[in-house]
Chain length 352, copies 2
Amino acid sequence: MDSLDLSLPGPELTVALCDVESVSGNERALADLVEAALRDVPHLAVDRDGDAVVARTSLGRAERVVLAGHIDTVPLGGNLPCRVEGGRIHGCGTTDMKSGVAVQLRLAAHLAEPNRDVTYVFYDHEEVEADKNGLGRIARNSPDWLAGDFAVLMEPTNATVEGGCQGTMRADVVLRGHRAHSARSWLGSNAVHAAGEVLRRLEAYEAERVEIDGLVYREGLNAVGITGGVAGNVVPDECRVSINYRFAPSRSEGEAADVVRKVLEGYDVEVLDSAPGAPPGLSHPAAAAFVAMVGREPQPKFGWTDVARFSALGVPAVNYGPGDPSVAHQREEYCDVAPILECEERMLAWLS
Amino acid sequence: MDSLDLSLPGPELTVALCDVESVSGNERALADLVEAALRDVPHLAVDRDGDAVVARTSLGRAERVVLAGHIDTVPLGGNLPCRVEGGRIHGCGTTDMKSGVAVQLRLAAHLAEPNRDVTYVFYDHEEVEADKNGLGRIARNSPDWLAGDFAVLMEPTNATVEGGCQGTMRADVVLRGHRAHSARSWLGSNAVHAAGEVLRRLEAYEAERVEIDGLVYREGLNAVGITGGVAGNVVPDECRVSINYRFAPSRSEGEAADVVRKVLEGYDVEVLDSAPGAPPGLSHPAAAAFVAMVGREPQPKFGWTDVARFSALGVPAVNYGPGDPSVAHQREEYCDVAPILECEERMLAWLS
């Protein structure tokens, strides 16, 4: 393809975007097409950082909103080019999240005079390690490009507003004992046995439900892995319990670590890494207007998403996109035509 | 070496045996030498099965004792040929167990008219998988070759009688749950958490001490391994606890399985394999005379050894040999000269 035709309706534009393969690390061709198409739009100023493209209106409006989406996908599963059948587009990236990107591009091309200034962010490397994330890179290199009063991340949400996101923390508890031949086990101290109490406490822990802006964030504290054992005839001297804590966006990372340490008091808890959540920010006027326009009851977002990067920059953010998250990352990924049209229509109404 | 000189003193014979490398699977050359040397002894009838050699007196004595030892070793560690220094022989196989084999060969050559008929068994493949074990092969092919009233396995025991051996059983408990994204953990059921109660019961279990023939066998029931976990963001749907039960030789394998099942009642216990123990048989007259001759307090054997193969054939058996078990399988393996001479002297006294 030589160029992107932004006059195509959203579903056709989704197909065009999907058929330019852009598995993480291979976004260059699509980023070039997006950049070229946006540079042709007279009311936008365009910047680029690596394979991320940022376009902005500068109309001096009282508020600025940011619409963001990633242009990369998970690896293909023999599911390109797209196949359109009965109002449904099948193919890699359809739901996650080139249908959302298509809505962004349609708005960018056609909203010459939005009622709020708009920043359109198209970024790379969302589906891989966090340190490669293109939105994170822009936040480090040019945080002013992301400035705004409110942000919408167009990840798949079935066209419902999902507010903020929970934080996530990985921690390990390592139990130590003394090795011994299992035929003389009393000479040793069994580290796997010692893990029993750790697991019992995790099982007994009642995760909290925290209400923010009318959304209830339901937390979770889980052992997501356990390993221990030397050989079939050896009392093991080490056992590692891997823990994942999903915490409400009202807690800081430090407060989250305190919760884990309190539950596992007396044990050596090693926090490996964490990412703070993002409050939904639905009390902001732009957000309230957005929710009213969408016309559906907003939901809390449980999984960690890039909205947290906006939150870290002081920009309240929600998730809202046409795709169905339950088919993301699957060979059978698809996106229906109807929500693509609906999302574009609602956002146009909100910004006109 | 063309032939084994059975007139050499025990320590020198040990060196000669060790310097013929016989790592498991490579016993042929040493078995040939042992067979040829024994065929030269007029009072012995010699049989061979693979790389195992069996020699017997047939004097019509009231009792028959079996002296057995394996001729293979663990892999070399740059520790051959032997080095003799200050009354200590260093090298692969010195303690485990060519010093014991040397004592067997010395007795075989020099006890023309023992007070009990004697069967000398030299076998292959002890240091590898149980199904290759030469003693097991003889027990299957020619169990009559191993017939006797009492057996001595000349494994390293620091010249102390170690009676019988405990049984061993491997079992797995598999906990099952339901997978879910850890951000929505209430939709799943955590199998690793469920393992907590299994570990707690194993930790709380007080292993029994069972006295047989004056020896106290101390049991042990241990988790020797645990694995569970799908990914850092997934509630795990399976957790496997691997268990090893070392049980007193008074229990059958079925009784041992009952113990494990009772401790873990309500859980799905899968017995993977087991090997019965061997009672010490010290009440047998030949055994009592042997213990008296050794002149040291007999000890229970905790680890599983080939004495259990004799026990399975109805032959009470003990471990008794000149080596130090704590240096077996080590690069620094050695055997002192003094216990080699002591073992030969005591056994000569017992059988003369």
